[in-house]
C-alpha cells in the first residue's frame, strides 16, 4: 500500500464529507421513530423533503465547484472526485424527488401530474432532475468513450441544471431569501470563474 500523502487523502475525505448528511439524516429518522416529531419536525414528510432538497442543492453546487476549485488551487486530484461528487448530488436529487412522489403525493398519479403542471417550481425541479439523470447515466467511462467529444457538450448541461434548481427553490418561497441569495452567489462565483478561464483560453489562442 503506498504511503498516504495529502493528495491521496483528498478523495476519501470528500467521500466522508458527502456521506455526513446521510448519516445525520439516519440519526434524524432514528429520533423520529423514537418519538413522532422529534427528528423531522411536526410535519415529518415536509421536514424530510426540505432536508433532502437543501442538501441536493448544496451537493449539486459542490459538484459545480470542483472544476473551478481544481483550476484555482491547482489540485489535479480534485478532478478525480468530480464524478463521485456529481453522483452524490444526483442521489440526493433522486431521493428528494422520490420522497416527494411516495410520501408527499402518496403515488397518486393524477395528483402528481397535476402538481407538476400546476406548480411551476415543481416543473422546474423535475426538469433539473431530468437533466441530472442524463448526466448520471452518461457518467461512466463507457459512455465517455462512446460519446467522445459530445460527452463534454452533454455535461455542460450542468449549466442548465444548477439555475433550474435555484429557480425551483426561489419560486417555492413566499418570503425570506437569505439562503437563496447565498446559493445564487455561490453558483455565480463558480460560473464567473469558468467565464474567466474561458476568456483566458481564448486570448492564448493565436488568431
Amino acid at each position: 500500500m503506498p504511503p498516504a500523502t495529502p493528495q491521496s487523502l483528498v478523495k476519501p475525505a470528500v467521500a466522508v464529507a458527502m456521506l455526513a448528511p446521510w448519516a445525520w439524516l439516519g440519526y434524524l429518522i432514528f429520533l423520529e421513530t423514537m418519538q413522532s416529531g422529534a427528528g423531522l419536525g411536526p410535519d415529518p414528510v415536509e421536514g424530510l423533503l426540505h432536508y433532502l432538497g437543501e442538501w441536493s442543492l448544496i451537493v449539486l453546487l459542490c459538484a459545480f465547484s470542483v472544476t473551478p476549485l481544481q483550476r484555482q488551487l491547482g489540485w489535479a486530484v480534485l478532478i478525480g472526485c468530480r464524478r463521485m461528487v456529481g453522483l452524490f448530488a444526483f442521489t440526493f436529487v433522486l431521493v428528494h424527488a422520490a420522497v416527494y412522489a411516495v410520501f408527499y403525493v402518496e403515488l397518486d398519479g393524477r395528483l402528481l401530474l397535476q402538481e407538476i403542471i400546476e406548480r411551476p417550481y415543481i416543473t422546474l425541479g423535475m426538469a433539473s432532475l431530468l437533466v441530472l439523470t442524463l448526466l448520471a447515466i452518461t457518467s461512466t467511462r463507457g459512455w465517455q468513450r462512446r460519446l467522445g467529444r459530445r460527452w463534454k457538450a452533454l455535461h455542460r448541461w450542468i449549466y442548465l441544471a444548477v439555475p433550474l434548481a435555484l429557480a425551483h427553490l426561489l419560486w417555492l418561497r413566499k418570503d425570506g431569501y437569505a439562503d437563496v441569495a447565498l446559493y445564487t452567489l455561490w453558483a455565480a462565483l463558480m460560473a464567473g470563474e469558468r467565464a474567466y478561464a474561458w476568456r483566458s483560453r481564448q486570448r492564448k489562442i493565436p488568431t
Partner: protein, 306 residues
C-alpha cells in the same frame, strides 16, 4: 360552555369536571360527534366527522409568524424575545371611542369561550385547534364604530429589537404586518379574538397576547399579536396582497376551486402526519363553514375576489 376567566387560570381549575372530561374525550375521540352532544352550535360549526384535534405540540411548534423568521420552527424558538406585558392597543378611525388602551382593559369583563376550529393555511396544510377567545364583535362594539366604518384594519407589533424577522435584510415584507376584514365579517359570530389555546394562555409564537381567528379564511388573515385596530371606510391593503396581489387577495376565503397561482388548493395535508401518511384530505368550501358564512359573499365572483 361559556367560560369567564382570566387566561392564566388553567381550564381544569374552572370548568365543571364533567365538561372538562368530555373535552378530553372529545379531543381523542374525534371532534364533531361529541361536539354535537352537548355544546353550543358555534362549536359544532364546520367540524367534519373525521376531524380530530391536532396535538398541542404541533400547534405551538409549527407556525408561520414571519416576524420571527420564515422557518416553521423559528417562532417557537425566538418568539419568547417578544415582551407582551404591558401591551397597548391603539384604536383609531371611524369610532366614537378611540385612543390607546391597555390590553387588559379591553378584554376585562368579556366572556372567553372555547371554540374548536378547523385551520387551513394558504400553503395547503391544516390543523384543528381548540382556541380560547372572545367574539370579535364584543371587542369592537366597545369602541362604538360609526356608520362610516365599513372595514376594520389590524396591525401586528413592530419591534425589530424583539422580533428578529423584522430585522432581516432578505425579507420583502413592509412591516408592520397588516390585515383587515369587512365589518360584517368582523361581526360574524365565528370571528374570534383568541387569547388562549388548549385551555392555556396563548403562547407568543401563536400571537400573544391576542390574535384574530377567522376559521373560513386562509391562516394569513388571522393576524397575530395585534396592537392596532382601525375602523375605516375603505378596504385596507393587507400585507400579502401588497406583496403579491396576483397570489393573495383581501378576502382569502378558503376555496378549493380557486388555485393559488403556484399551487392547487383542492386538497390539504392535515397535521399531524407521519412519514408514511401525508394525511391528505379534500379542502372544503369556506373551510367547511359554508353554511355559516356563505351568505356574506352572495352574488360575489369569488374568482375575482379571492
Amino acid at each position: 360552555m361559556l367560560i369567564r376567566k382570566p387566561p392564566s387560570i388553567p381550564t381544569s381549575e374552572i370548568t365543571p369536571e364533567e365538561i372538562y372530561r368530555d373535552r378530553r374525550r372529545f379531543m381523542t375521540a374525534g371532534a364533531a360527534g361529541i361536539a354535537s352532544a352537548a355544546l353550543p352550535s358555534v362549536l359544532q360549526a364546520g367540524l367534519q366527522p373525521d376531524d380530530t384535534v391536532t396535538p398541542e405540540s404541533i400547534v405551538t411548534q409549527y407556525n408561520n409568524f414571519y416576524e420571527f423568521g420564515t422557518d416553521k420552527g423559528d417562532p417557537a424558538a425566538y418568539a419568547h424575545e417578544m415582551t407582551t406585558d404591558p401591551w397597548t392597543v391603539t384604536v383609531s378611525g371611524e369610532a366614537n371611542k378611540t385612543g390607546e388602551f391597555a390590553f387588559e382593559d379591553i378584554v376585562k369583563g368579556l366572556d372567553v369561550e372555547e371554540r374548536i376550529y378547523r385551520f387551513r393555511c394558504v400553503e395547503a396544510w391544516s390543523m384543528v385547534v381548540p382556541w380560547m377567545g372572545i367574539p370579535l364583535k364584543d371587542v369592537l362594539a366597545q369602541f362604538e364604530p360609526t356608520g362610516n366604518a365599513k372595514f376594520v384594519e389590524f396591525e401586528t407589533l413592530y419591534r425589530p429589537d424583539e422580533m428578529r424577522g423584522q430585522r432581516g435584510f432578505f425579507s420583502s415584507i413592509d412591516w408592520p404586518y397588516v390585515e383587515g376584514l369587512r365589518l360584517d365579517e368582523a361581526y360574524h359570530p365565528l370571528t374570534l379574538m383568541v387569547t388562549g389555546l388548549y385551555g392555556k394562555e396563548l403562547p407568543n409564537q401563536n400571537g400573544a397576547p391576542w390574535r384574530l381567528m377567522v376559521p373560513w379564511k386562509y391562516g394569513f388573515k388571522s393576524i397575530k399579536s395585534v396592537v392596532s385596530i382601525r375602523f375605516s371606510e375603505r378596504e385596507p391593503v393587507n400585507t400579502w396582497k401588497q406583496l403579491q396581489a396576483s397570489e393573495y387577495g383581501f378576502y382569502a376565503n378558503v376555496n378549493p376551486n380557486v388555485s393559488h397561482p403556484r399551487w392547487s388548493q383542492a386538497t390539504e395535508r392535515r397535521l399531524p402526519n407521519s412519514l408514511f401518511s401525508s394525511n391528505r384530505i379534500p379542502t372544503l368550501m369556506f373551510n367547511g363553514y359554508a353554511d355559516e358564512v356563505g351568505h356574506l359573499y352572495a352574488g360575489m365572483d369569488l374568482r375575482k375576489y379571492y
